[in-house]
Amino acid sequence: MTEQSPPPPRRTFHLNLNWLGVMPFALFVLLFLVMPTMKIVVGAFQRPDGSFTFANIAGLFTPSILSSYWISIKISVSSAAIGCLIGFLMAAAMVLGGLPRGLRSPLMTFSGVASNFAGVPLAFAFLATLGPLGLVTVFLRTEFGINLRAMGFNILSFWGLTITYLFFQIPLMILIVTPALDGLKREWREAASCLGATGAQYWRMVALPILFPTILGTFALLFANAFGAVATAIALTGSSLNIVPIMLFAQIRGDVLGDPHLGYAMAFGMILVTGLANVVYIVLRMRSERWLK
């Protein structure tokens, strides 16, 4: 508010009414999003009696918990990065590759389906395909004598999980980046080529910088998406793979860590990681977007 004489009472009254309009929403968000999250954050710094401590956070620094974070981050980064790359290539092929326009609508619908086809059923689909008795595994073994297992591939592993997550990561990228690719004006490309730029130079100096914020934002989203994915991981691996969401799930179910407040700390760690990923995104985006209003 600017410095003015106090507003007349009528205006204050109106202002209050306007705020009331979003009260149900605010209340809902407070009760079912903000407070539960805060409860975790605060709990991570509390002893069971409620006093302040760093002990829970310090408790995270055990080899097994640290390695679970490390594997989780690796899976999330790789599935987000590969998902962004492949999704980008597929969207670019669709938008800029001179393919029939009619392909587009079914592909976007399919992307909508696949990006929502996560969780337990997705795990089953991949078990049926790349599991020990899966379609592809058996086909490669009987037709080509390629034994995936002997080559060190296991669906219950880092790569197995990454490949599975790509099933919802790639379509999500396609859904988000397609409108951005549509936003690239044909004239930019033509102007660049008139000025002597090769296709690669156009992409490096014009198209990619323009798309960068979108790609970065999608990467952050895909990262969080993979980092918090519980159902697929549990259905796929049971508890054989030591990643954060699985550990936290087991902890909530049965306090496997033997310390309820260590669970808070683990959950807090998850918020911290996804939060950090988004802070990095926001900072990079602000730096890369000086040219936007």
């Binding site: 004006k185 004239e187 930019w188 033509e190 102007a191 660049a192 080529s193 008139c194 000025l195 002597g196 730029a197 090769t198 130079q201 100096m205 014009v206 910088p209 323009i210 000086r290 040219w291 936007l292 209003k293």
Partner: protein, 348 residues
């Protein structure tokens, strides 16, 4: 030898022939306009010169070199687009320097050239701004500077003024013409606006349905249109059907008035084209005359536009406004004088 030659150029999209047997020879430093309604193929011709479309047939040579199949980035052509097409992620200076940068010019050379170009377009202080911070007119001037910075052999302008306000349009068109003269750069300008084409060009190509109807100076195009389309598209033209009474002396009858054009005509019927501003009120000795009744009168300030009923045909007449004469009124029966030499015979 001509600098830019387009010969027998053809372009089809599927079964649709957009450009048919298009020929043009442009001298070095010449300013040529391609004028025509939308869909006449003028933009397609330009895009083939730029290299964005490959011709279905024909050749384009620049400075004696066949460029018909060359990629756009090897043609050394500058282009300005209707929608500015500045790179939004680059500053004005980076936009202008883009062409030199992709060629790998040293930074100092780029900076010097950018400063030179920004001075040329009168925006020397704007180098650090981003395109969104500029007005439309400023953006288009930057686009012009960007196109000119790498010293292209040919400058192509694709309706560069269409997206601008009327006022900016006029000032920018003078500016573009001045810069073009100063640099002596061969320029092809695509427009659907006859006023732009007439005021800026050394020569105009009027295009219609993929064909060049007429190539000529603005004066020729306006005063000696070669086809009925050119006559009708450039300027306002009254077309009147006339009965030829004596082919040898050019004696015709139009709506009850007799005119003697003083040149040989084919027999039967001809179509006469009369510019509204070629007619004057009142009878004059030595001039042909037409009579009719005023049905409409629009006072437009400097001009008074009349519509007349000539019996079986209608005629528009523009009179200059003067303070001396009392204006005619609707319903008046008037006589109009015209120089028979000004009447265009467009054929039957």
């Amino acid at each position: 030898m001509t600098f830019l030659t387009i010969s027998r150029l053809e372009k089809s999209f599927g079964a649709n022939r957009v450009v048919k047997d298009f020929n043009l020879e442009v001298e070095k430093g010449e300013f040529i306009s391609l004028l025509g309604p939308s869909g006449c193929g003028k933009t397609t011709v330009l895009r083939m010169v730029a290299g964005f479309e490959l011709p279905s047939a024909g050749r384009i040579t620049i400075a004696g070199k066949d460029v018909s199949r060359l990629r756009p980035n090897h043609r050394n052509i500058g282009m300005v687009f209707q929608a500015y097409a500045l790179f939004p992620n680059l500053t004005v200076a980076q936009n202008v320097g883009f062409g030199l940068k992709v060629k790998g010019a040293p930074a100092r050379e780029i900076a010097a050239r950018v400063a030179e170009m920004l001075a040329l377009i009168g925006l020397p202080e704007m180098g650090e701004r981003y395109p969104y911070q500029l007005s439309g007119g400023q953006q288009q001037r930057v686009a012009l500077a960007r196109a000119l910075a790498p010293k292209p052999q040919v400058l192509l302008l694709d309706e560069p003024l269409s997206a601008l306000d009327a006022k900016v349009r006029v000032s920018l068109r003078n500016e573009i013409r001045a810069i073009q003269r100063e640099l002596g750069i061969t320029t092809i300008f695509v427009t659907h606006d006859q006023e732009e084409a007439l005021s800026m060009s050394d020569r105009i190509v009027v295009m219609h349905q993929g064909v060049a109807d007429q190539v000529g100076t603005p004066f020729d195009i306006y005063n000696r249109p070669a086809t009925r389309f050119v006559a009708g598209f450039v300027g306002t033209l009254n077309t009147l059907t006339a009965q030829v009474i004596d082919p040898a002396s050019g004696h015709v009858r139009v709506g009850g008035s007799d005119l003697v054009l003083g040149r040989a005509l084919p027999g039967g019927e001809v179509v006469l084209g009369l510019r509204p501003e070629m007619l004057r009120l009142g009878a004059e000795p030595g001039m042909a005359s037409l009579t009719g009744t005023i049905t409409e009168l629009d006072f437009l300030g400097s001009v008074i536009r009349l519509r007349l009923d000539l019996g079986d045909q209608r005629l528009a007449v523009d009179l200059f406004n003067t303070t001396r004469a009392t204006p005619p009124r609707v319903g008046d029966s008037v006589t109009l004088a015209l120089d028979p030499a000004d009447a265009l015979v467009i054929g039957a």
